[in-house]
Amino acid sequence: MNASAQPLTIKDFTSDQEVRWCPGCGDYAILKTIQKLMPKINQPKENIVFVSGIGCSSRFPYHMNTYGFHTIHGRAAAIATGVKLTNPALDVWVITGDGDGLSIGGNHMTHLLRRNVNLQILLFNNEIYGLTKGQYSPTSKTGTQSPSTPDGSVDAPLRPCSFALGAGAKFVARTIDTETQQMAPVMLRAHEHKGASFVEIYQNCPVYNDGVFEYIKDKKSAADTRLVLEDGKPLTFGADNQRGIRLNPKRLALEIVTLGEDGVTEADLLVHDEGNMVLAQMLADLKAPAFPEPLGILYCDPMAPEFVDGVYQQRQAVRDKKPPADLNALLRSGHTWQVD
């Protein structure tokens, strides 16, 4: 317990291990934001567990002075499920990347989301394999040149938020590595959410994929490239929020409009609704440069049943009906016979 009345600080969550990411890596900023956030989540330090797979981002647990498990490639989701099944009181954070979580671990990610296990998944998307030295990843844009695709990749990329929604995730959000102000509240909401909270983090790899998110990270153009989502607020963006997103009912597609042009008013714009799955799917599909890309909480369904709760409730229901466990009695159940 934090028996001492002293509130925890960032120092309490910083391990003594030397951080070994490349200079300029977006992971530093994410680490700092999470370390700063930890004292605010109201959890005893000993209840916090970071579980990661393999890759640059998966070194993350070594730098958190909490419980941590750096596992094997793609399997953090499965290991974290085992942790939660065993001790639902633990506060589990899964740290993964685009290769770890969506390529080799795509199956486990699917099922973790589908089951809605109560934990947080932070997917560091840098659209490249960093630790294995620069091969293209399942989120790399078509045409990405890499050591394994010297003439450019030919396969279509996967969109993490669309993937998560498709898998049945009940909390899907997106943020940017260096945007602490935007990231921290998203993380708090992810933590608050009971169920599997999926947060995609656009993360720059300065060595193998430098600038791949510059279109949205660049503060100068941010107003035009970011669609910052706020529940209950109209979908606007651009300098002075003069542009917005409208549903074109004939095409069943989203389109960009400008307020004041062609008689468009704010009433014509879509209003963000975190509980609207169809809207979330349309938002997840918005891609630059044709559209601004949504940041914040795309979808949140706080009422969906959580897996581990279900497991324990079912167990309790059975126990309520059966006599207490007695191994000798179990062995002697069914047909027995006495030999004298």
Binding site: G68, F69, A78, G82, P324, L330
Partner: protein, 624 residues
Amino acid sequence: MSTVEKFVNQDGVIHAKSVVVRFAGDSGDGMQLTGNNFTEATAIYGNDLATFPDFPAEIRAPAGATFGVSAFQIYFGAEDVTTAGDDVDVLVVMNPAALITNLKDLLSGGLILVDAGAFTDKNMNRAGYKTNPLEDGSLDAYRVMAIDITKQAVEAVKDFGLSHRFAVRCKNMWTLGLVMWLFDRNRDATIDGLEKKFAARPEIAKANIAALNAGHAYGETAELPSGVEIYMVPRADVEPGLYRNTTGTEALAYGLLAGSQLSGLPLTFASYPITPASSLLHTLSALKEFEVITFQAEDEIAAACAAIGASFAGSLGVTSSSGPGISLKGEAISLACATELPLLVINTQRAGPSTGLPTKPEQSDLNQALFGRHADTMVPVIAASTSVDCFEVAIEAIRLATRFMTPVILLSDAYLANASEPWHLPDINTYEPFPVTHATDPDGFTPANRDASTLARVWAKPGTPGLEHRIGGIEKDFASGDISYDSDNHQKMTTLRKAKIDGIAQFIPEQSITLGAPGGKLAVVGWGSTHGAIHQAVKHCRQQDMDVSHIHVRHLMPLPTNLGDLLKTYDRILVPEMNTGQFVAVLRSKYLIDAQPLNKVSGQPFKIREIEAAIKVQLEGVSR
């Protein structure tokens, strides 16, 4: 074999020391249920017994197909019975396909009880008979009881208003009734079972009971062909006590619960469906009143990883599969080695490679268990030798995993999983508990702390204040547990991991002689489910004054400390295995002895006579 031990008395009753009965029919004919009911009645009668269900991978093969034949064999007698028997005395067949696929195992002079009603042109054609074997004289070497069982069964249940399809299904119970008459078995347990099973549909229960009774009455009243008499098999002289029948799967499930209770640890059992291992998941999933959480994972890898996550969180993670699934778990098992977390991996082996023969037994995953992972990742390996032994082995596996903080591989197989035998029920209160304690004291804590005698790493579970730490697959510093790329440290850690597993040999029993004497001309060395066949073969040979002993090895990694010296006291070593020679290679390389293989990979267990023949060949070699 059993024919030599029986004779027909003047009263027309066949007195036999032991009998082998095989029930065979379409996979939809209910042969497994019939066999299980007959087994129960036989156990209650007081014979010793062993059974072997042999069923196809297909759930419902096309009716009448040879590849859809499902069989259940029971060997019962007045003496200790440890296999399901070599040759069949009484063959019960429900159709031509069952006859053509099983006749080869019937002794000359054996009895065939056959549903003549199923010998239609279509069925005979499908089975491959050009002429009707019931009429063409091809069964003259046997005694044949051909009855239109289908017709008899339908007649017996006509008052219950069942559809024709349901009425026909009662033919297995009619057949069971007749077989029970043949062996003087009591029907009460079967009747109880039917009433319970069909409690919600009493008309089905009543119809099945009527069919059972009608079959029995047919035996009592019908004029039977000459040569068909009641068998009298004396009760076995068994140790007094309370008994039940158990399959290996049940005993293994109960053993896991026992290990949980003795260690004081809850279990997290994570598995993915695969034949023939799934029934363990089913069994444990229905026992929620015990400290076990079951989890059907999305795949084999996830199952292993969830179990590791569970162990990290402080319970005992258990994962279960068969060979192909274990292959997928390999990387995760190595993670558990590297992080020194307890993990129990159960392999119910089946015939391979690849999908192989999914319902048939083999012992061909020993090499996989011993060596089948990347890098130097030794793990303890132990094997169950009988269905009942699965209980003891499960407890021992949990003891090793938790005491030494290591993955343990437990080997069973498709034979043990499904075969049943009587179990003299143990009292769990007589077992020595081995309570597991998690670290709680932050003073001087590092995740690298270890026990000086066992070399086991400390187990600190999340949720414990002051013990926050990180573990992972990267090599760890010997002293601090922090990640380390230091070359000397890696050497030290690799040596340590090996020493820890080697050292387990000091904490397991010395190898005993299962049957026989130390030293001599020949030792037959086995492991796993070959126990029963080796035991009987060695017993028979010793009764004929042959100098042969049986040594059955439970701990396969590490091996008992005295095993090498013990084996060297024999002139010859014979190692029967249901693989192409895996354990024999281990013994040869480890002890530099000229152990000889005896291999069988037909998907069927060894017959006693096959091992007896090999013993004789070895002993002739010694005497020459």
